[in-house]
């Protein structure tokens, strides 16, 4: 009876109220920042005195913002590729390998997810100061890859676990070499897991800010790091415009993911 709304009695109105409240709480900053980005007040007064696209113009006219986006995309793409290249064989080892310490290795691979980012950030910062990687493309990719690799390993090994290995064996019996069987049967079958791993790796890098704050140099910073550094100086409405663009990208990605899920469910 507590697992059915109709039979719950008046208690359900309390549930509705909290549900609406929490939904409003979750939407508030998102809607608010989108509204502010079109407001004409430099001091972020709300409701704004008028509406304007001025902050978007400032954003697109400033090459430093565009550079930061390009850095984010380049780093994200490299992280995505590297995390699949390292994660795919590692997942095969974790799922198929029969060796001692396999569970330990699995725990080791998800280790970076557990360590607080700030600790990882200063540890890498210290290391990179020694070998001169701070503020470099390679440094960003390496730092973000530490964070992204667990995502790709989890996604790919989950897909691999639910793949029926006997199909691969059947291919071998039919005359395929093991390499052919993996390339033509196994990899296409687990492609959704690989795509998910790639997507999460890209997003992990795209959204990463803590490691980036410590690693960035004035002429090499990702978009979130540039936002962070700009915010240290003032609460410029340009940030509201950037944030709104990022929210739109998020909505687009979510919509695509939901459409794909809907299509697969059918």
């Amino acid at each position: 009876m507590l697992l059915s709304l109709n039979r719950m009695g008046p208690g359900r109105f309390g549930l509705y109220a909290i549900g609406i409240l929490v939904a409003a709480f979750l939407l508030l900053p998102i809607v608010f920042i989108a509204a502010l980005s079109f407001g004409s007040s430099r001091w972020l007064a709300f409701p704004p005195p008028g509406w304007t696209l001025q902050w978007y113009e400032e954003f697109f006219a400033d090459s430093r913002w565009i550079d930061a986006i390009l850095v984010s995309i380049r780093v994200g793409a490299a992280v995505m590729a590297a995390s699949i290249l390292l994660g795919l064989p590692a997942s095969f080892a974790l799922v198929r390998g029969r060796f001692r310490g396999r569970e330990l290795l699995r725990a080791f691979f998800i280790g970076p997810m557990i360590v607080p980012l700030i600790i990882l950030a200063i540890a890498l910062y210290g290391l990179f100061l020694h070998i001169g990687l701070n503020g470099t493309f390679i440094g960003f990719v390496a730092g973000h890859l530490v964070i992204a690799l667990p995502f790709s390993i989890i996604c790919i090994s989950n897909a691999l676990e639910s793949f029926d290995e006997s199909i691969e064996k059947a291919a071998i019996i039919c005359g395929a070499t093991p390499a052919q069987a993996i390339w033509r049967i196994t990899l296409p079958s687990i492609r959704m897991g690989i795509f998910a791993g790639a997507l999460f790796s890209f997003l992990a890098s795209w959204d990463e800010v803590v490691v980036g704050i410590f690693m960035a140099s004035p002429d090499m910073q990702t978009l979130p790091v540039r936002m962070w550094n700009t915010l240290r100086n003032d609460l410029s409405p340009v940030i509201a415009a950037v944030s709104t663009l990022l929210i739109l990208v998020t909505i687009a990605i979510l919509a695509v993911v939901m459409l794909v899920q809907k299509k697969r469910a059918r």
Binding site: M1, L2, M8, G9, G14, L15, Y16, I18, V22, A23, L27, P29, I30, I33, L44, A45, L86, P89, A90, F92, A93, R96, G97, L105, F108, F109, I110, P112, V115, P116, L117, I118, I119, L120, A121, I122, L124, Y125, G126, A142, L145, L149, I154, S157, N158, K169, I172, I173, D207, V209, I213, P224, M227, W228, L231, L235, A240, S243, T250, L254
Partner: protein, 290 residues
């Protein structure tokens, strides 16, 4: 002909059962070495620094645990993490419950809102709260026009701001595990309780709540651990009076170049995190962690 086929099959079988099975672990080596050099080595050198910089010994740890300024940071960290956990659970439980109960058409929208807030860029969300909570911000103006207060309340650059911002970020992380747990409960159990004469409140406190405890425990522990080590939101919304451990670590290392103290603080944070994480793994079972 048949012989040929048998021979072919035998060869295929040999390929499949090759003893090389054992060595498949070697495919993990590239990832292993990568994480070894960029995860194990830097963390180890940090640990080393905490006991050697500026002088060998446990001085850094002693200073962190005895100095009042640092004591206050430690207190802030645990207090905020505790409050955020409790508030997130209190707000998240009914929402998780609703997600199970609502018709899927409505629940999907609630899911979408949760995912949207979770996936929106962290700096963007925190910036939004910074603007919302400032002295002349919307929240203060609303409070004043409602007559709840006659002067702006300092909601940001202190622990109130951090708590609001962190609760916002952590809500999805309690709602999703709780929702999974609640969805797994068999409704028949509650019917039995009702048929046996229990009132709804009794069914809630004596059946539903105890059955959802594993979800509460797991979600709460997860949020507590994450809140302890969070950097961006506390650093942006906390100001100097609301400093937390992660920001202390950052400031010591980046601004004061005090690597020894920063590393020692990092290791206190890491030890607490690992200990609580071990508890989490025990409470949900290792299979669920992935």
């Amino acid at each position: 002909m048949q012989q040929e086929a048998t021979a072919g099959l035998r060869a295929a079988a040999a390929r499949m059962n090759r003893p090389a099975r054992r060595s498949e672990g070697r495919y993990a080596l590239p990832a292993f070495f990568f994480l070894f050099f960029l995860f194990v080595v830097p963390l180890s050198s940090l640990l080393l620094r905490s006991v050697t910089d500026p002088v060998p010994g446990l001085g850094n740890y002693a200073q962190l645990l005895t100095d009042q300024t640092y004591g206050k940071v430690l207190f802030n960290t645990f207090a905020v993490a505790g409050i955020v956990t409790i508030v997130s659970l209190a707000l998240g439980y009914p929402v998780a419950w609703l997600l199970v109960l609502l018709p899927s058409r409505v629940a999907r929208w609630l899911f979408a809102i949760l995912l949207l807030s979770m996936w929106t860029n962290l700096v963007a969300r925190t910036y939004a709260w910074l603007v919302l909570l400032q002295r002349t911000g919307v929240i203060n103006r609303a409070l004043m026009s409602l007559g709840l207060t006659d002067h702006p309340i300092p909601l940001v650059n202190n622990l109130i701001g951090v708590t609001i911002g962190m609760t916002y970020i952590m809500l999805p992380f309690v709602i999703f595990p709780l929702q999974t747990r609640l969805a797994a409960i068999d409704p028949a159990i509650m019917q039995v309780a009702a048929i046996s004469g229990a009132r709804p409140t009794q069914v809630f406190f004596r059946v539903l709540l105890p059955l959802s405890l594993p979800g509460i425990y797991a979600g709460g522990l997860m949020v507590f651990v994450m809140a302890l080590g969070y950097y961006v939101t506390p650093a942006m919304l906390g100001g100097t009076s609301g400093m937390m451990l992660a920001e202390l670590i950052g400031v010591q290392v980046q601004s004061l170049l005090n690597w020894g103290l920063g590393s020692a603080a990092a290791f206190i944070l890491l030890s607490v995190t690992l200990a609580l994480y071990a508890l989490y793994v025990r409470s949900v079972g290792f299979g669920q962690v992935r």
